[in-house]
C-alpha cells in the first residue's frame, strides 16, 4: 500500500526489508530518524553508540559475525568514523554493511557544510545517493546486494531535503538474506602491513569492477529530452530541482551511484548534447569527474558551491525566468532559535558572562549560549573540542588559568569530551570543565545516551555515573550544582577556578522539555513593583518581554524556573499568589 514516508524512515524500511539485523548509530541532524525508525522493528537490534567511530566499528563487528548491519551519522560524524572507514574499505565485509551519512547543505543544524561525497572517493567505497523516499528505500536494499557481491561497505548518502521530506513509497516484505557464518581469515581481517599490502590491490580491482557496474546500472539512468541544446548530469535532490525546472525539455543523466561514476556512459551522454551542465550542491564533484574525462562542462561557474540549490536557481542559471513572488517592503526582524523557557543551560551562561570568563563551547543546544543577550561562548568547533581546547588554552598561557572554562553537554562529553578530560588530568592543566548534564541528548530531539539510564528501545540499562567517571580519569575535584540556583553556581565556579588543580563541575537538571519534568507553573510579574530596570532581560528568556516599560511574563511559555526572580532586585517577579 502506498504511504508517505520521511526519507529517513524509508531508509529504515529499506534496511529492514533487506534483512538487516543490527544498527548502531550516534544521533545527528539530519540523520537521526533513520535509527529511531529502525528501532521500531522488533527484528532489528538497534542502539545508540557513544560516538560514530564506535557505531561503525560495532556495525562492522556485526557484519563480521554474519549479520547484515547498518550505522547512520551526520556528515561531521563521518569525520569521527573516518578511521575505521578507511580500513574497513580494505577488509571488506562478511554480511552486508551499509553506512548512512546525511549532509546538511545550507547548515540548517550543523557547524559546517562539508560534502561527504569526497569520503567515497578517498576511502574507495561505493556511494549511493537517493533523490526521494522511494529511492531511499530501494537503494538501501540495493546497497546490501552490492555490499555482499563486491565485498565492500557501501555508503548511503542522504541530505537534509531527502532525509526530511516525505514522499510516496510502497513498502515491501522483509526478506532474510542467505545466512553467513564467521570464518577466521587473517589475511582479510588483520590489517597489518603484510596483509594490508595485499588487500590494497583488491580494493583497486573492486573499484574497477564497480565502475563497470556503474556503466549499465539502472540507477544511473538517462531520461530523454526533446531539446538537445543542453544535457544535464545530476543526482540527489538536485535531480528533483532540474525536473521541476525543465520537465522533459532537456536530456538528463541521473546518477544514483555517485562513486565510482561511469565513464563511457557520461561520454556518450555528452556526445548527444550540444552543451553539458552539471547540477549539484556544494562541491563540483561530478563536474571534476567530467573534466577528468576531458569533457567541456558548466558546473560551479554557474551554481554556487555554498548552501542549497533550488528549482528557481536551476531555472535562472540555465536561462529560464523564475517566478517573482509578492514583495513586502518591510524590515522583518530575524527569528533565530533560542534556548527554551526553563532551559537549565540559561542560568549557567548568565553566571559565566557575569564572571567575564572565556568559554570554550561545544556542540548541542547549549551552543545557543553564544546568542545575545547571553553571548557567553567564545568557540564552537566540533564534538569534544571544548575540553581539549581548554587544555591548550590554559597550558599555552598561564594567565588564562582561572579565567576560562569549557562547557559541554552530557552526551557530547561521553562522545569525545572524556578523552580531552583524560588529557587535562594526565598532562596536568588547571582547567575547569563544566558538564551541562540535562539527562538527554537534546538538540537532535531527545535521544537516550549512556548517562541517562535508558537505551534506544526505552528499556532501563546501565547508567554511567559522571562523577565516578571524572574521578576515575584523575580529577579529584568534582562538584555538582543545580543550575537554577545561580548564587551557588557562581560561588562553586569561583572556587573551582581558584583551585590549583583541574576540576569538573556538573550542572545537573533535566531538559525542561522532557515529559517527566514537573514545572511549578508560570511566574507572575507585578507592574507596581517593576521599575523597568531590565535586569531580567539579560537572560534572553523568550517568556519575558518589556511592555510599556514593565516586564511581562508570557504565561503560555513560562514554566516557572525562577531564574528571573533571582535577578529582580525589586521583588517584582515571583510565584503566582
Amino acid at each position: 500500500m502506498k504511504t508517505l514516508m520521511l526519507g529517513n524512515e524509508a531508509v529504515a524500511r529499506g534496511i529492514y526489508e533487506a534483512g538487516c539485523a543490527f544498527v548502531s548509530s550516534y544521533p545527528g541532524t539530519p540523520s537521526t530518524e533513520i535509527t529511531e525508525y529502525a528501532a521500531k522493528y522488533e527484528e532489528i537490534y538497534a542502539e545508540w553508540a557513544p560516538n560514530e567511530k564506535v557505531a561503525l566499528e560495532a556495525a562492522f563487528g556485526a557484519s563480521l559475525a554474519g549479520k547484515r548491519s547498518f550505522c547512520a551519522m551526520k556528515h561531521v560524524g563521518l569525520n569521527v568514523a573516518a578511521d575505521p572507514l578507511f580500513t574497513i574499505s580494505y577488509t571488506g565485509v562478511n554480511a552486508g554493511l551499509v553506512i548512512g551519512v546525511a549532509d546538511d547543505a545550507g547548515m540548517h543544524s550543523s557547524q559546517n557544510e562539508q560534502d561527504s561525497r569526497h569520503y567515497a572517493r578517498a576511502a574507495k567505497l561505493p556511494m549511493l545517493e537517493p533523490s526521494d523516499s522511494a529511492e531511499a528505500l530501494a537503494f538501501s536494499k540495493l546497497a546490501y546486494e552490492l555490499s555482499e557481491k563486491y565485498d565492500t561497505a557501501v555508503l548511503m548518502k542522504m541530505c537534509t531535503r531527502v532525509s526530511h521530506s516525505q514522499s510516496v513509497v510502497e513498502p515491501g516484505e522483509r526478506e532474510l538474506p542467505i545466512q553467513k557464518e564467521y570464518e577466521k581469515n587473517p589475511a582479510k581481517y588483520i590489517m597489518m602491513p603484510a596483509n594490508a599490502k595485499k588487500r590494497h590491490p583488491e580494493v583497486e580491482t573492486r573499484t574497477k569492477a564497480l565502475e563497470e557496474w556503474a556503466e549499465t546500472a539502472q540507477i544511473n539512468r538517462i531520461e530523454e529530452g526533446n531539446d538537445h541544446s543542453f544535457g544535464i548530469v545530476t543526482s540527489s535532490t538536485c535531480y528533483q530541482y532540474v525536473k521541476e525546472a525543465f520537465g522533459d525539455t532537456y536530456p538528463v543523466l541521473k546518477l544514483g551511484m555517485i562513486w565510482p561514476m561511469p565513464k563511457q556512459k557520461i561520454k556518450d551522454f555528452a556526445a548527444g548534447v550540444e552543451q553539458l551542465a552539471v547540477v549539484e550542491e556544494l562541491d563540483g564533484f561530478i563536474e571534476s569527474h567530467c573534466k577528468d574525462l576531458g569533457l567541456q562542462v558548466s558546473g560551479k561557474e554557474l551554481f554556487s558551491n555554498i548552501g542549497e540549490l533550488s528549482q528557481n536557481q536551476v531555472k535562472e542559471k540555465l536561462g529560464k525566468p523564475a517566478p517573482a513572488g509578492v514583495s513586502l517592503d518591510e524590515n522583518i526582524p530575524a527569528r533565530p532559535p533560542v534556548m527554551c523557557a526553563g532551559c537549565p543551560h540559561r542560568s549557567i551562561f548568565y553566571v559565566l558572562k557575569k564572571l567575564k570568563l572565556t568559554v570554550l563551547g561545544d556542540i548541542g543546544c547549549y551552543t545557543l549560549g553564544a546568542v545575545p543577550p547571553l553571548g557567553a561562548i567564545d568557540t564552537t568547533i566540533c564534538m569534544g573540542a571544548s575540553v581539549s581546547g581548554l587544555h591548550g588554552f590554559v597550558k599555552a598561557k598561564e594567565e588564562h588559568t582561572g579565567k576560562s572554562v569549557a562547557v559541554i553537554g552530557d552526551s557530547t562529553f561521553i562522545h569525545s569530551g572524556v578523552t580531552g578530560l583524560i588529557n587535562i588530568a594526565y598532562n596536568e592543566s588547571d582547567a575547569t570543565v563544566i558538564i551541562l548534564d540535562n539527562s538527554i541528548t537534546g538538540m537532535t530531539g531527545h535521544q537516550q545516551n549512556p548517562t541517562t539510564g535508558y537505551n534506544l528501545k526505552g528499556d532501563p540499562c546501565t547508567k554511567i555515573d559522571l562523577e565516578s567517571l571524572c574521578r576515575a580519569v584523575g580529577i579529584s575535584r568534582v562538584r555538582v550544582v543545580d543550575p537554577y540556583d545561580m548564587e551557588t553556581c557562581q560561588s562553586v565556579i569561583e572556587e573551582e577556578l581558584a583551585a590549583k588543580e583541574p576540576s569538573v563541575i556538573i550542572s545537573r537538571r533535566p531538559c525542561a522539555l522532557l515529559k517527566y519534568v514537573k514545572h511549578p507553573g508560570p511566574v507572575c510579574s507585578d507592574p507596581e513593583k517593576c521599575k523597568g530596570c531590565k535586569a531580567c532581560m539579560n537572560i534572553g528568556c523568550p517568556a519575558i518581554s518589556m511592555v510599556d516599560g514593565k516586564a511581562k511574563i508570557d504565561a503560555t511559555l513560562c514554566v516557572g524556573c525562577g531564574v528571573c526572580e533571582q535577578l529582580c532586585k525589586f521583588d517584582a517577579l515571583g510565584a503566582a499568589r
Binding site: Q240, G325, P333
Partner: protein
C-alpha cells in the same frame, strides 16, 4: 487529460507551535485522495523557537520537495510576523491565512529590533487574499491553547475543496485518540470562524 499543476502550501510559524502536525495531517489527506505528495520539514536547531517552514506539495507528479519564491498558492502562518517574512514565496494573487497572534522574536525581546506595526494592513495592501483569525483565542475556546494548529487547519479547509469525511479521516489518523475530540472541536471552530 491535462496534467494537474502542482499545488503548494507553505506552513510557517515559530518552532514549537505544532506546524509538523499540520503538515502530517495534510499529507495524509492528500495521499488518500490519490495525489503524488511531498512534504518537507526542517528539524534540529531551528525547532528551538526559531522561524520554521514546512512545504506541502501535491499534484499528478511532484518533483522538488521544496517550494521556491513565487510558487506558493497559499501560506498558512501560525504567527503574524512569519507570514510577512515569507510573502516572497507567494504566487501573484495567492492567499495568506494567518493567525493574528504575535510572538516577539529574540531581537525584539532584547530591544535590538522592533516588531513591525500594522502588518495586517500592509499584507492586505499587496493585492493578495489575506484571511486573518485569532487562532489562539479559538484554540482556548476549544479547550487548549496548543490546538492552534487544528484551528488553522479548519480555516484552511474553508478554502480547499476537500470533503468533511476526508478531513475527519486525516485528523483521526494524525492526533492521539485522547485529544481527538478537542482537536475536532478546534477544527470546527476554525472552519466556522
Amino acid at each position: 487529460m491535462d496534467k494537474m499543476e502542482t499545488k503548494n502550501i507553505m506552513i510557517v510559524g515559530v518552532g514549537g507551535q505544532g506546524t509538523l502536525l499540520a503538515s502530517k495531517l495534510l499529507g495524509r489527506l492528500l495521499l488518500q485522495k490519490g495525489y503524488d505528495v511531498k512534504v518537507s520539514e526542517v528539524h534540529g536547531m531551528s525547532q528551538r523557537g526559531g522561524s520554521v517552514v514546512t512545504y506541502v506539495r501535491w499534484g499528478d507528479k511532484v518533483y522538488s520537495p521544496i517550494i521556491d519564491k513565487g510558487q506558493a498558492d497559499c501560506i498558512l502562518s501560525f504567527e503574524l510576523l512569519e507570514a510577512a517574512r515569507y510573502t516572497e514565496y507567494l504566487k501573484q494573487g495567492g492567499r495568506i491565512i494567518v493567525n493574528s497572534q504575535q510572538i516577539n522574536p529574540m531581537p525584539v525581546i532584547a530591544g535590538a529590533a522592533s516588531y513591525p506595526e500594522k502588518l495586517e494592513e500592509k499584507l492586505r495592501a499587496l493585492g493578495i487574499d489575506v484571511d486573518v483569525l485569532d487562532a489562539l483565542a479559538l484554540a482556548e475556546e476549544a479547550g487548549n491553547s496548543k490546538a492552534v494548529n487544528l484551528v488553522l487547519m479548519g480555516r484552511l479547509a474553508k478554502h480547499f475543496d476537500f470533503t468533511e469525511e476526508e478531513w475527519m479521516d486525516a485528523i483521526e489518523h494524525s492526533v492521539p485518540p485522547k485529544f481527538l475530540e478537542l482537536n475536532k472541536k478546534a477544527f470546527a471552530l476554525g472552519r466556522k470562524a
